[in-house]
Amino acid sequence: MTQVQLKNLSKVFSGAPAVDAIDLDVVSGEFLVLLGPSGCGKTTTLRMVCGLEQPTSGSIWFNEADVTQVCVQNRRVGLVSQRFGLFPHMTVEQNVAFGLSVRGLPAELQKKQVNEMLDIVHLSEFANRFPSQLSGGQCQRVAIARTLVTKPDVLLLDEPMASLDTLLRAQMRQFIRDLHDEYGMTTLLVTHDQVEAMDLADRIAVIFDGRIAQLATPEEIYQNPVNERTARFMGHSNIFECTPSSDGHIESPFGRLTLGTPARPRANQPTKAMLRFESIQIDSHKSDTQHNVLKGTIKRAEFLGAMMRYTLQVAQGTLTVEEASTNIRKTGEVVSISLPPEQIWLLDASA
């Protein structure tokens, strides 16, 4: 079990910082996801942990050892990249055995371990096939098997599901999480897909412009994002201007709303509030006397399969609501909506 620590880690390419003084502590056996948009520095961070990229400044620690200057071959890390990097001229079996064979493991032992690993990834019957004869999902499992068979201390996954279709991606997510739980190795995954991040992670580090914007559990980041950028990146939400007061209320385009928690930003300072689409409840029978119950008119209704998305005109503003598509409402219908006070989250403009 290996603890990974990044201390003040930076990487500059041609004068532009790709990673800007990152501090990160990955607990032993943790599944941590580096989440961010393209070009935010998440892959560069992973490559530095791997040893494929040298940091401009800062250091990388595995347990109590500084590995910043340790070459990639000696770091005992495993990497599964987006394009898998399978050796096209080797069979599945030879690909998986490669890491063992370059370390000089006896042939018999190699065969035994390779066969066990192919069993785990359900690829035993494809042992003699070449990568060009496999599907994307099978290639990914070969890449994972090839990495796991070397028993790395830290597993690094660089958008390994980016080239798979939606259905296969969901299956592979489950497969990767199961493998992590079974082996318990410290895992860092890089992705720009927030669904993937929330599904897999023990904790998520949201990265923007080479810096960590927020490091927390998936639930915390989703419900209590630190700023507007994180909130928008982590899924659909209504974000609106408001002015909090010291008595636990905000003035918003929809009127005076009650908050579930005291206002974090300073009172009477204009800020923004966030409310997830699915947090708003539509209920035609709710009484106006309850907290945050408003009347709205459906301006647009979108069928999304399992969910319906409604755009409502409420007082001076617009709110978007999602609810199960079991009861489809019509455009123009006037409905009562309830905005749960504990779901209204004030965003910190300074964060």
Partner: protein, 306 residues
Amino acid sequence: MPKPYKAHTAITGPLARRQTLRDLAQVLPLFVVLFFLFGGAVVLAVLQSFGYAPWFGINEFPSTHYYERLWLSADFWLSLGYTLYYAIAATLIGLVISIPLSIALCARFKASRIFSALIRLPLMVPYSVGIALALVMLGNGGLLSRFSAFIGWIDDPAQFPLILRTHWGWGIIAVYVWKQVPFMTLALAAVLVRKGDDTHEAALVLGATSSQIFWRVTLPQIMPGIVSASLICFAFNIGAFEAPFILGGGYPDTLPVLAWRYFQDANYAFQLQGMAVVVSLALVSGLILSLYLLAYRRYERARGRV
């Protein structure tokens, strides 16, 4: 009931005919060169080598006389040996230099325009200039011998080891290598760029050393480039005339020089003998290249690529 939709995979009608005509017009120059210039010349060469040359007043067709005389001569086999030796040695040395050079070009000097220009330079210099440079540099009165005498390694430039005009063919091989290394390097660099860094990085992370990566990952992956580049260079070397003619060790000459000597003879019958040399050379070259390709196909099939 609506008619089922019939899928069309190709354009038909006048539009298709016009497209076909346009395609034919585009490939016509190739066919003209292939069938009339090259094909016609090959047929004439084969006919002449079998004794058919009525325009010289010779018509012994079909006669194997010229082949018999050629193949029964020990000098022909010596000439063939020299021809193959220069071609194969130059191709192999060229590869040994080009493979690490192309890897260095892709790994470290990708952005270096100076390095790229230096590599390309010999491609832009004509062959004859390369031969002249070899004479100036490697001859017994050349720069290298004079410099060796100057630093005291030898007493007199004439004592310098014979590089040119010897059947070891160092000068010929040097010129071939000098000219083909840039071509091979660029061809292999193109394959390396297309291959990308993924497998190299994967091997590194899996713990492979540089030497293991080269032999087990990089080399098998650039094999298609090695085969194409070596085929082209070998085919060129085996038929090259100028370098062996100027820098060679004299009689017995390489086969292209031997053929040239026959063609220069005032006796027309030797023209036919020259054609037998040319056809023999083409047969040997074709046989070697076919066997090489066959072996490569088997290698590729064993790796699931064909």
